[in-house]
């Protein structure tokens, strides 16, 4: 049994500790902000210059600053799956090189088992940061490349025979060694990538941005002294630990269970379950995923991805101000997995959709479990990512980078659903999965249509697809995508990045679930075909893909929802008149747009009387 000091964040104690390191609070505040900022700047530069569609337009990347041993000091406000996994992946990189780094090194890798950060198209880049030839720390950027080799572009095609077929497996290697470009390995690498010139330039841009951050760190060392900078890095980590211990101590002690499922793995037709057992004991938290399903294909989650999914789930439950660093990740949080399960797969299992499917379920299962340990910070479930990808060639356009027909890998990011409700707040419209914490950006449709032979005909909110609640989930989303490819050019619709047909986002505290996802294809003069997740089908000009994606789960009893909010939802086409009456118990006159208060009170009383008393 762990002893717990419930007052670990007592401020005078915090500053006594700071005093031991001889750091004054001002310097600490300043340097901490600068660490965050160095990470942000890498992201800003990369987003600006990168050719990868998803990195530039969707912000599918994340930057982390770590200490000389690979402990995370600071994370930027980007997609969590590219941040917290650095705890595992950068450690793997450091171990591989046994600490042998020199100024001007630039390391990259994507191997799902050696680097273990996640699926193959997300490449991990690490640049050691030196000051006067002393290793101070590392900058990590992870982001989704335009291509990663394999049997189809993009890394999201289900059905690969094994991880070798799924894409190029790159163990961590020095693309730049002491500032010198590693010509031979690079040639081998890029020869196996589609559009090599593009990916190569994107990679060098990351190096340039990380080098600028290294210069920034050196300026801080110049100004504040290298010992102060190093001491602040450790202090920040310790503050992370103290904050996380205080937050875990606020959770009710006990053992809690959460279970969530991904639709299927694209091969064996059954849902794939992640099971979480969360044990809260004082200020220690243990997340045990051992009871999850055995490994399958395509959606298995490598360890780094599992680790970050757990942490994203925990951070979503505790006070948001807990610093996201090694101290809050590794000192009072223990993560247990079992080899051979979907949360800890063995080579050569495929991992194409590890984050969106099993990773997302881990994040959810942790939240479902911990929702039971708190009454303050419960939140309704959000949708999983659901927005099919288009891949193919357009022979009408010659790509000057390759001299060949333009090869594309496209996604509108228009169809993503919404977030869950929470005490006091409705879920956010179309924010997509909370797994990404609102960090995915919806690109302009005009930008998408300018580049790819598709036209998005509908981009709407879908009425009645929200999880009802006193604070409802965000609404469902309805899109229609028209294919206008050049007849004869190969083109495919891929849903390997989509999930949510089997299990809907959950409601909490009496809130309801929204419906599950639906998609269908309509070809000219043919029957409508239902289109599943984890599929890949050829498409032709004139085909239309329709998606209905869930809203978020609700919080609280919908019969307690403020009637004015219900009225606004109905006028705003989020909820129909019928649903307002049936589910929210609100009677509205659509001629005058007023609420019939007497009828509403009566209806709500009747409906409440019919409900079984809430079980404790």
């Amino acid at each position: 049994m762990a002893t717990t000091d419930k007052n670990v964040t007592d401020r005078s104690r915090m500053y006594r500790d700071s005093a031991d390191r001889k750091i004054d609070p001002t310097t600490l505040s300043v340097l901490w902000s600068r660490f965050d900022n160095l990470c942000d700047e890498i992201g800003e530069r990369v987003i600006f210059g990168i050719q990868s569609f998803v990195m530039a337009n969707v912000r599918d990347l994340g930057q982390v600053f770590l200490d000389h041993e690979g402990k995370i000091v600071s994370c930027s406000a980007y997609i969590p799956c590219h941040l917290f996994g650095a705890k595992v992946s950068v450690k793997n990189v450091i171990d591989k090189f046994k600490g042998n780094f020199e100024p001007g090194d630039f390391i990259m890798g994507n191997d799902a088992y050696l680097v273990a950060s996640g699926h193959l198209p997300d490449w991990t880049f690490v640049r050691p940061a030196f000051y006067n030839s002393e290793l101070i720390g590392f900058f990590q950027l992870r982001g989704h490349q335009s291509d990663t080799g394999g049997f189809f572009p993009g890394g999201y095609s289900p059905g690969a025979y094994d991880i070798i077929a799924e894409g190029l497996n790159i163990p961590a290697f020095k693309l730049m060694k002491g500032g010198k470009y590693n010509e031979e390995v690079a040639e081998l690498l890029y020869r196996n990538i589609r559009n090599p010139e593009q990916v190569k330039m994107d990679n060098m841009l990351v190096n340039g941005a990380c080098a600028k951050a290294e210069e920034g760190l050196a300026r801080l060392c110049d100004k504040y002294g290298v010992e102060t900078v190093k001491a602040c890095m450790q202090e920040v980590i310790d503050i992370g630990e103290r904050a996380m211990r205080a937050e875990v101590a606020k959770l009710k002690d006990g053992v809690y269970y959460g279970e969530r499922a991904s639709d299927w793995d694209g091969v064996t037709d059954k849902p794939v379950y992640v099971r979480c057992k969360a044990t809260v004991a004082g200020d220690e938290l243990t997340i045990d995923l051992s009871d999850s399903d055995p490994q399958c294909t395509f959606i298995n989650s490598p360890l780094g991805n599992t680790d970050q999914s757990v942490m994203t789930g925990i951070y979503a439950i505790v006070d948001p101000k807990v610093p996201k660093n090694y101290g809050s990740m590794a000192r009072n949080v223990t993560i247990i997995t079992k080899k051979g399960t979907v949360t800890d797969p063995e080579y050569p299992a495929t991992v194409g959709s590890c984050a969106i499917s099993v990773g997302h379920c881990i994040f959810e299962a942790v939240q479902v479990a911990l929702n039971q340990a708190t009454t303050e910070r419960q939140i309704g479930g959000s949708t999983k990512h659901c927005c099919p990808i288009q891949i193919g060639y357009d022979s009408r356009i010659i790509d000057p980078r390759t001299g060949m027909a333009l090869s594309y890998w496209a996604e509108t990011f228009a169809s993503d659903g919404s977030g869950g409700g929470r005490k006091g707040f409705d879920g956010w419209t179309g924010i997509g999965t909370w797994y990404h914490m609102g960090s995915l950006l919806r690109p302009d449709i005009e930008h998408y249509e300018a580049l790819f032979p598709f036209v998005n005909m509908k981009y709407e909110i879908l009425p009645d697809w929200e999880g009802a609640g006193e604070f409802r989930g965000g609404p469902g989303v309805h899109t229609e995508l028209l294919c206008r490819v050049n007849p004869g050019d190969p083109a495919f619709m891929v849903s390997g990045n989509s999930d949510g047909m089997v299990m809907a986002p959950w409601g909490v505290a009496g809130g309801q679930e929204p419906p599950t996802v639906q998609m269908y294809m309509q070809s000219v003069g043919e029957e409508r075909r239902w289109f599943r997740t984890m599929c890949q089908v050829p498409i032709k000009s004139g085909d239309v893909l329709t998606t209905y994606v869930s809203g978020g789960g609700g919080y609280g009893d919908p019969l307690d929802r403020d009637v004015e909010r219900v009225l606004k939802d109905v006028r705003g086409r989020m909820v129909t008149l019928e649903r307002a009456r049936e589910v929210y118990g609100v009677v509205i006159d659509p001629e005058t747009w007023t609420v019939d208060v007497v009828a509403t009170e009566k209806l709500r009383r009747e409906k409440k009387a019919l409900k079984p008393p809430a079980s404790k």
Partner: protein, 700 residues
């Protein structure tokens, strides 16, 4: 006598600067009157006239130009008091702007949120500018080549217009996909809407901002439609009031882009006024820089609630198209000023990690800092400055207003000092240091984002609260030096007198550089130049006085964002095009840390800026004297400097009695009528020929 007037109506005060043809100037402040801004504006002018010893009618009768800046459009949005707004969208897209327009971490604009904010669910999503039931759609569709897929359904437009009329809508935004390539559908829809709703204000996305990217274009158009009816009314009213008071000169409005425009032109697109508040700052810094032969400048302005910083590399004021207002995009070109919540009213607090934080919350003007004695009990930057002896409680705003030091001490003790285990003075010093660091970081960010080195730049400016902090900001940001203008408290009003007439015109022009058709490119530039000329002619500018500048936005093939570079003057030739491409490679290297000269590049967009360069006022020099400033000494008081280990007795000087050439070594304090300048130990200021304070001991 002939006058020029700058009048800046801000959130709290309306500042007036009056300059005569000999270069003498005087300034006045009056409270802004939000219910009818014209009242405060006229009152401020009246006050200035009085200071000149004349009636307002006499002054206005002799005034050739009034440049007017107003935060009214900003306030309409901030307070939700714009027009009742309806909108028409392409079928299937009426909900497009209900989705997040930027990532959650970017909701605060260029000021990035920390990762903590991402995990904070206790916040409501930013809402569109109008109710969802007033956003309608009509059948029509154009594709990415500008070709019509589905013709405009005019019955649909009529039906929706009738619905919007029945809802009492005052202003309509028309937002169709690809309208920048095919404006005809929007234009026809406007005719129909105006037929159904006579007198209604209509804003077209293809006119407000004819560039690709529906979210920025449409959101900007909604902003335009939202503020247009009120702003047009305001423009007419202030013009009429000035005319009634005897003004027969030219009224000009300060725009987002740092340039000015006539009332007629600014009425076309009132969204040009949305973020014009801080836009005059950088232009002013540039003029001051020229006096001292410095062209790498950064303009700073610290007021009660916000701190603005804008960088001016090599004398070029930056323009951005990435403004975010309340989570929504405003993509018209605007002066690139980075604003953060840091000012005299910023509140100090302790976060969960035990960090001392200052801002972004502000005590505002009401209740204001604790020392105002108006019921505020949270410690602010001004409270710290009073406790530290920088601000004399008896001489705030020239003594117009007495401050309560005891309340400042109490607030700091209870809010910060006790929690950190520090004394009140130590806590005040920490607040002062943290806010300086925060502003310093904000300044540093404007450099690092652009690949610039702060050591090459000179800080210029201050604002009402800034002069106490400028030395600290300079130390934190690591800039080369700093200048505090004599007119620091009315920094922007003064800057307006230097603003040029300025209009941007842009359009898409996509071409691989290797395949560029120079004839087509020159024709496209010709079109934009004709538009710029036409506007300047409407403003009565003679053709010979027009300056037209060409720029080109370029990217590497496949890149999703672009960089804007200047195009050499004259028609674009093979040589000047090659030079432009080279400028792109160079800029890419400088800003992003990487470039590849052999990688294929593309032209994305082109733009023309039409300018009429104003003739700046020439200021009166002040007397130069030999010898020290002892004659201007008005007393001494205790002020706290950590470097000296605590409180030290320092000399206090009267700014109005200082003369050119006077050198003021720190530690000391200079009191101007509306602001206080703190010179810490190790710093020294020299008074220049115009009464400005220039950091001495190194070249500015």
């Amino acid at each position: 006598m002939s006058y020029r007037i700058g009048v800046d109506s801000g959130g709290t005060f309306t500042d007036t600067v009056l300059v005569d043809e000999r270069g003498n100037f005087l300034s006045a402040k009056a409270p802004t009157t939000p219910d009818d801004v014209t009242v405060g504006t006229m009152a401020s002018l009246e006050k200035a006239a009085k200071l000149a010893g004349k009636s307002l009618r006499e002054v206005l009768g002799d005034t050739v130009t009034i440049v007017h800046g107003t935060t009214q459009a900003t306030n309409l949005v901030a307070t939700g008091r714009g027009a009742k707004l309806g909108a028409l969208f392409t079928k299937g897209y009426r909900d497009r702007l209900s989705f997040l327009q930027v990532a959650k971490g970017d909701l605060a604009g260029e000021v990035k949120e920390t990762i903590s904010k991402l995990f904070d669910f206790d916040q409501a999503q930013p809402e569109p500018l109008t109710d969802r039931w007033l956003m309608c759609d009509v059948e029509e569709r154009v594709d990415s080549r500008g070709e019509v897929m589905i013709p405009l359904n005019e019955d649909d437009v009529r039906k929706q217009a009738e619905y919007l009329r029945s809802q009492g809508v005052e202003s309509v935004a028309i937002n169709f996909l690809w309208s920048h390539l095919h404006p005809e559908h929007e234009e026809r829809a406007r005719e129909i809407v105006q037929g159904v709703m006579p007198g209604v204000s209509v804003s077209l996305s293809s006119h407000v901002l004819p560039v690709a990217g529906e979210v920025g274009r449409w959101s900007t158009t909604l902003f335009d439609a939202y503020v247009a009816p009120h702003m047009r009314k305001y423009i007419d009213r202030i013009q009429a009031k000035l005319n009634d008071a005897g003004f027969a000169g030219q009224l000009l409005f300060m725009q987002n882009n740092g340039g000015v425009a006539t009332p007629e032109v600014v009425s076309d697109t009132p969204a040009q006024l949305l973020v014009s508040g801080p836009a005059a700052g950088p232009g002013h810094a540039l003029i001051l820089g020229k006096l001292h032969g410095v062209d790498n400048l950064v303009s700073v302005d610290m007021g009660g609630t916000s701190f603005d910083a804008g960088v001016i590399p090599e004398g070029e004021v930056n323009i951005t198209t990435k403004t975010i207002i309340d989570g929504k995009k405003m993509s018209l070109p605007a002066i690139d000023v980075r604003s953060i919540g840091a000012g005299g009213g910023s509140i100090a607090w302790i976060d969960l990690g035990g960090r001392l934080q200052v801002g972004p919350q502000s005590a505002g003007a009401d209740p204001g800092p604790a020392c105002y004695g108006k019921g505020g009990n949270q410690p602010t930057v001004t409270d710290a400055d009073v406790v530290l002896g920088y601000i004399d409680p008896e001489y705030f705003l020239g003594g117009e207003f007495k401050l309560r030091k005891d309340l400042a001490e109490k607030a700091i003790k209870e809010g910060v000092a006790d929690a950190l285990g520090l004394s009140v003075v130590e806590a005040a010093a920490a607040i002062h240091a943290v806010i300086n660091a925060k502003m310093g970081l904000n300044v540093e960010l404007v450099f690092s984002k652009r690949g610039l080195d702060p050591r090459d730049f000179t800080l210029v400016g201050a604002g009402g609260a800034g002069a106490v902090h400028i030395a600290g900001i300079h130390d934190e940001a690591g800039t080369r030096g700093y200048v505090v203008p004599k007119n620091a408290p009315v920094y922007c009003a003064f800057g307006m007198l230097y603003a040029d007439m300025k209009h941007h015109y842009q359009r898409n022009f996509f071409s691989e550089s290797a395949k560029v058709d120079l004839a087509a490119l020159n024709a496209a530039y010709g079109e934009l130049e004709a538009k710029a000329r036409e506007t300047l002619r409407r403003e009565a500018v003679a053709d010979k006085d027009m300056v037209l500048e060409k720029t080109m936005s370029m990217s590497y093939y496949g890149q999703n964002k672009d960089l804007e570079v200047a195009v050499p003057d004259g028609p674009v030739t093979t040589d000047t095009f090659a030079e432009t491409v080279k400028r792109f490679h160079d800029k890419h290297q400088a800003v992003l840390g990487h470039s590849e000269a052999s990688f294929p590049t593309t032209v994305v967009r082109i733009a023309v800026t039409g300018l009429y360069k104003t003739v700046p006022p020439v200021l009166q020099k002040i007397e130069r004297v030999d010898g020290g400033p002892a004659g201007a000494r008005k007393g001494a008081r205790n002020a706290h400097f950590s470097k000296l280990g605590g409180f030290t007795r320092v000399d206090v000087y009267d700014g109005n009695r200082l003369r050119a050439g006077h050198l003021l070594g720190g530690p000391c304090i200079i009191e101007e009528p509306m602001t206080t300048i703190v010179v810490p130990p190790g710093h020294a200021l020299e008074v220049d020929a115009y009464g400005n304070y220039v950091q001495a001991g190194r070249e500015a």
